[in-house]
């Protein structure tokens, strides 16, 4: 083997090793990035069937109010599942771009549970809180929008509790209290002040 061939082979081998190391570095970076991304996979199978009219109370950050909006979505018969689909549609409006009240990608409602017919427990995805904009008004509007939309479409609910990934959380994004149950009447009074 000539000296030139030896050098060329060594250079090629070095290039192969360097490329391999670079590919490994890229792969690790990509894996780390994927881990940090919010989980945006759908959390339940889409409901099929005839669409029913539903009133969503959409939050508008700029004037700081809720406004009703009629939509038609397929709804299951079970009240708790119906609540989940309604809130899923509501949060879906907030993750769209542009939105009157933007929430982060992956924000969604995982489940709604009805306890004793009058208490609704809303379980949200981690991204719902972790990607939520921070601020008293913006967090209050999110809470009010969930509570008002749920109670406007599910009769008999007088208290609402919001969980994040199945767990109680002190605040939504540093301001709005998530430890207590929300009294629907108190939320209504607050909304009257906002309007």
């Amino acid at each position: 083997m000539t000296r030139a061939l030896t050098i060329a082979t060594a250079l090629l081998l070095a290039a192969v090793v360097a490329m391999g190391a670079y590919l490994y570095y890229l792969r690790r970076n990509e894996q780390a990035r994927a881990r940090d991304l919010p989980d945006t996979r759908p959390i339940s199978a889409p409901v099929v069937g005839p669409a029913s009219p539903v009133t969503l109370y959409l939050a508008y950050d700029d004037p700081g109010v809720l406004r009703p909006q009629q939509v038609s979505i397929p709804l299951p018969a079970d009240p708790a599942q119906r609540g989940r689909e309604i809130l899923h549609a509501l949060v879906g409006e907030y993750v769209k771009r542009p939105s009157s009240h933007e929430l982060g990608a992956g924000a969604d409602v995982k489940d709604v549970f009805l306890v004793n017919g009058n208490t609704a427990v809303v379980d949200t995805t981690p991204a719902f809180a972790e990607e939520h904009p921070s601020g008293i008004l913006v967090e209050t509007l999110t809470v009010a929008s969930l509570v008002k939309t749920l109670t406007a479409n599910l009769s008999g609910v007088t208290r609402v509790k919001i969980l994040v990934d199945g767990e109680e959380r002190e605040t939504l994004a540093g301001h709005a209290d998530l430890e207590d149950f929300y009294d629907v009447t108190a939320v209504e009074q607050m909304l009257q002040q906002l309007q």
Partner: protein, 480 residues
């Protein structure tokens, strides 16, 4: 010779019968279960048995085959080899900081590896206080704060607690073995006539609160073990009381359990001031405004624009407001005067402990314009002055006064031509404050977000707020 033998025997006996050093232990606190595990030492490293650590969380079994040790937890497999530092958890490689130890059928892992293992196996976040060997799972934590009350001082916890209470001269100790009690501050200085400070420490899987008393103390549980009321021990209470009090304070809540004080002499470790009188305990405290600059430390709050952090804006504004209040002759204290983290509930506890007249939670936002003033979203409830108030709704008694003060503040902002609005909102920690309490959110003056940092703009708002408090002082005093 015989004498030497006798001395040697005595020395041996002394060594043999001496109490062994405190055994090392790890405490694990979960949302549903808390437990302690013995910690053993191997090659100067702390180890715990993995099977025992996982047992409280589900079905767990282990088998040994030669040097290989396998553990099955629910449907997940963990595998380690004796003296190896690499094993498998759910078929994925897991590295240990020190070799795996097999003691018979017991598999021991280095204590430092346990938080990582539990995070993987239980799919929950963990926080490990290594020096104290306390491991918190899934955000389990109990915060506490102190509040003056008639006839004593109440130490309020965010969940029921079950401490071991003991007394020694000048001190009352509460030792928490199963309760995930944590504290943002090491020591809480108090101006109570009974207690000078409450110090928090944690060690060997336990947390401890040491109450430095000015008089011998008695501890009573109340509010379903969420509150520990500290009162002067009976002898002290009698000496503290005036001969014939014209008014008797309302009795304290019926204690669930009373821990009798140890027969202690006058506290030696602390200076003993003259015993408090009932008048001093029930007297209206001075008018003080507590300024709580929102967020701080790890909690940066909202991001205003690209780089501006809410925690910095609130601190600057709080300092400005403090100067403004002081220029009106009103005492103002700050929850934080530096970039430090203070738990939200601790902030309310500080306000309650200091018996402030007004509590202002200060925030900043990039959305909207002007100033928004918030009060608690609670219904008003009446209770006699000095009565015990539930932690979750302590603000109920004061909420009408808070709303009246918010009206006045809004009017003053209007006089300074600052657009403002006023709402009730579920803002933490207003519900827990036993005083007139407002949250004030400062928004930009125009389209430029950075205007919230402008000295002139902040000064106008601070002046309006201070004048609002001056005008509303008599209304606030009426509720105290």
């Amino acid at each position: 010779m015989v004498r030497a033998l006798v001395v040697a025997s005595l020395v041996f006996l002394l060594i043999a019968t001496a109490p062994s050093a405190e055994e090392k232990q790890l405490s694990v606190y979960g949302p549903q279960v808390s437990y302690s595990l013995p910690v053993s030492e191997h090659n100067s490293q702390d180890y715990v048995a993995l099977l025992e650590a996982l047992e409280p969380f589900g079905n767990v079994s282990a088998s040994t085959l030669g040097r290989k040790w396998k553990l099955r937890f629910n449907n997940l497999e963990i595998e380690f080899r004796q003296n190896a530092t690499v094993g498998k958890v759910a078929k994925k490689k897991f590295s240990l900081p020190a070799p795996f130890v097999l003691e018979g059928n017991r598999g021991l892992v280095p204590l430092r590896a346990l938080p990582g293992l539990l995070t993987l196996v239980l799919d929950t976040r963990t926080e490990y206080h290594e020096a104290a060997r306390r491991l918190f799972l899934g955000g389990a934590a109990i915060h506490f704060g102190a509040a003056a009350r008639e006839g004593g001082l109440s130490v309020n916890f965010s969940a029921p607690v079950n401490p071991l209470i003991s007394t020694e001269p000048g001190k009352l100790k509460m030792t928490f073995t199963r309760d995930p009690v944590v504290s943002g501050a090491g020591i809480l200085k108090l101006e109570s006539p009974l207690v000078s400070s409450i110090a928090f420490s944690e060690n060997n899987g336990q947390a401890e609160l040491v109450v430095q008393g000015r008089v011998p103390l008695l501890a009573q549980f109340a509010a379903n073990r969420r509150t520990i009321i500290l009162v002067a021990a009976p002898g002290e209470a009698q000496s503290a009381a005036p001969p014939a009090p014209a008014t008797t304070p309302p009795p304290v809540a019926t204690p669930a359990a009373v821990v009798p004080p140890a027969p202690v002499a006058a506290p030696a470790a602390v200076a003993v001031p003259p015993p408090p009188t009932l008048q001093s305990l029930t007297a209206k405290p001075p008018f003080v405004v507590m300024l709580d600059a929102g967020h701080g430390g790890d909690d940066r709050g909202a991001l205003l624009g690209d780089k501006l952090e809410e925690k910095a804006v609130t601190l600057a504004f709080a300092r400005r407001l403090r100067s403004e209040l002081q220029s009106h002759g009103i005492s103002a204290v700050m929850v934080r005067d530096a970039d430090v983290s203070v738990p939200v509930e601790q902030r309310a506890a500080m306000a309650d402990a200091a018996r402030v007249a007004v509590y202002l939670s200060l925030h900043a936002t990039s959305q909207g314009h002007g100033v928004r003033v918030y009060t608690a979203m609670l219904n008003s409830a009446s209770s006699p002055p000095g009565a015990f108030l539930p932690w979750d709704t302590a603000q109920s008694r004061y909420v009408l006064g808070s709303r009246a003060l918010a009206d006045i503040v809004k009017a003053e902002l209007g006089k300074h031509e600052i657009p403002s609005s006023e709402f009730s909102a579920p803002v933490e920690p207003l519900n827990h404050v036993a005083a007139a309490a407002l949250a004030v959110e400062v928004a930009p003056s125009g389209s430029d977000v950075t205007s919230v940092t402008l000295a002139a703009y902040q000064q106008r708002i601070a002046a309006a707020l201070a004048e609002g408090i001056v005008v509303g002082r008599s209304r606030v005093e009426a509720d105290r």
